[in-house]
Amino acid sequence: MTEPLTLTVNGVDYPVNVDMGRNLLGVLRNELGLTGTKEGCDDSECGACMVLLDGQPVNSCSYLAVQADGRSVTTVEGMMPADGLHPLQRTLLEEGGVQCGFCTPGMIMSASALLERNSNPSDEEIRIGLSGNLCRCTGYARILAAVARAASEG
């Protein structure tokens, strides 16, 4: 039995019918076609699936889609201005904070939420802000540098 609900993603209302047990990640990717959000561990460990729910980072792999009814969801697709890159996208590219890229959307979502509430984070605050996101390529140093630069350059 499916539940009718309205997912508001990146400012767009999507009426969908989904089974109660479906996770938000699967509905974003399959029903809505928003494949920027990735499935890594499917266990809330890696943060590849990070989205913003009412502005706060949440692991969409472990969040029921029906619980997002009426809330505001932001995915990496919603971070990009029409005419270019989000500052975090630009600094991640320029600092070499992207290698395979699989963790990058989740990193951007966690980092943007951090910078939204703390425009001048310390290195330790950046590490805590990204502590739910794993990267297996970069060794993190360049990601941390990218977030610090995005903070200082705005």
Binding site: M1, E3, D19, M20, G21, N23, D42, D43, S44, E45, G47, M50, L53, Q56, P57, V58, N59, C61, S62, Y63, L64, V66, Q67, D69, G70, S110, A113, L114, E124, I128, G129, S131, G132, N133
Partner: protein
């Protein structure tokens, strides 16, 4: 299968009476289902939008935490950080920012994991839990609530609506310290919370200690007060380490052996006592102790 987002507490309690299970952040329930540890209940009622469960409010007796208060709020609320610091220490260690944004104190308490981080702090702070059903309301001591891993004495129609904390004596301090292999998305290898009140000469006038992840439930160290009373904090910490290790009933699993847990829980208990005493003496140690001092550092 049915899913309801409760708009009022009455609606939530009616749904529970009809057989629904509650969900708040889902950080235990949904993760457990996806890991195959349990199946998703056939009927769920979401309780995460009930404003009355999201309050942190003073009471005649102390402070009431609505069951829906998130870990992110517990770790930053000025009154909790100042007066119930062990609870803030614990909340700041739960999962990652995303877990803390949606995970709640009520969920942590009622999930009843023996490795839960907020349990030992709540126990040393003297918390009680308010359970409510459509028919009745009752207050339960933590020692009467937890009966085993994932098991409580709550009936299926009862919802945890609040956690009540008594006023703190002066001068007192509390701390929670956890042994961890990594700094995020970690489950306590072992953990310990301590609360102490000081005499004018710096000795401990009263104290309590509780342990995480060394027994089927959070374990209060019964002899803690007797062992620590009238001792200087350092001597009390040395004494409590042996008592805590003796009291522990650890198992071996993939995270640690029973021998390792028995030893390290004593070390954590001693560090918790020292940090609590330093806070009681007026020293500001940031939240959580694990980050402010470092769990590997000598306290």
């Amino acid at each position: 299968m049915s899913f309801t987002i409760a708009q009022t507490l009455d609606e939530a309690l009616t749904a529970l009476a009809a057989g629904a299970r509650p969900i708040a952040g889902g950080t235990d329930l949904v993760v457990g289902v996806r890991q195959g540890k349990a199946s998703l209940p056939s009927s769920l009622v979401a309780v995460d939008r009930l404003d009355e469960l999201a309050l942190i409010e003073p009471t005649d007796r102390g402070l009431r935490l609505g069951a829906g208060v998130t870990h992110a709020r517990l770790m930053t609320d000025p009154k909790i950080v100042a007066e119930y610091t062990a609870l803030a220490d614990a909340a700041a260690l739960v999962g990652s920012p995303s877990t803390r944004n949606v995970g709640t104190i009520g969920g942590n308490v009622m999930n009843a994991s023996p490795a839960m981080d907020t349990g030992a702090p709540l126990m040393v702070l003297g918390a009680v839990v308010k359970l409510q059903s459509a028919q009745r309301s009752r207050v339960v001591e933590l020692s009467d609530l937890w009966t085993g891993p994932g098991e409580t004495t709550a009936a299926t129609d009862e919802l945890c609506v609040a956690v009540d904390l008594p006023s703190r004596p002066t001068p007192s301090g509390s701390a929670y310290v956890r042994l961890e292999y990594r700094r995020a998305m970690e489950i306590a290898i072992v953990g310990a919370a301590a609360s102490v009140t000081l005499n004018g000469d710096g000795t401990i006038s009263a104290g309590s200690v509780a342990l995480s992840a060394v027994a089927p439930t959070i374990l209060a160290v019964d002899d803690a007060n007797a062992v620590m009373a009238d001792q200087q904090p350092d001597a009390a910490a040395t004494a409590i380490a042996a008592v805590a290790s003796d009291a522990a009933l650890p198992i071996s699993d993939l995270r640690a052996s029973d021998t390792y847990r028995r030893h390290t829980v004593g070390v954590m208990a001693a560090r918790a006592v020292k940090a609590a005493a330093r806070r009681a003496s007026g020293e500001e140690i940031g939240v959580p102790v694990n980050r402010a001092i470092g769990v590997g550092a000598v306290l």
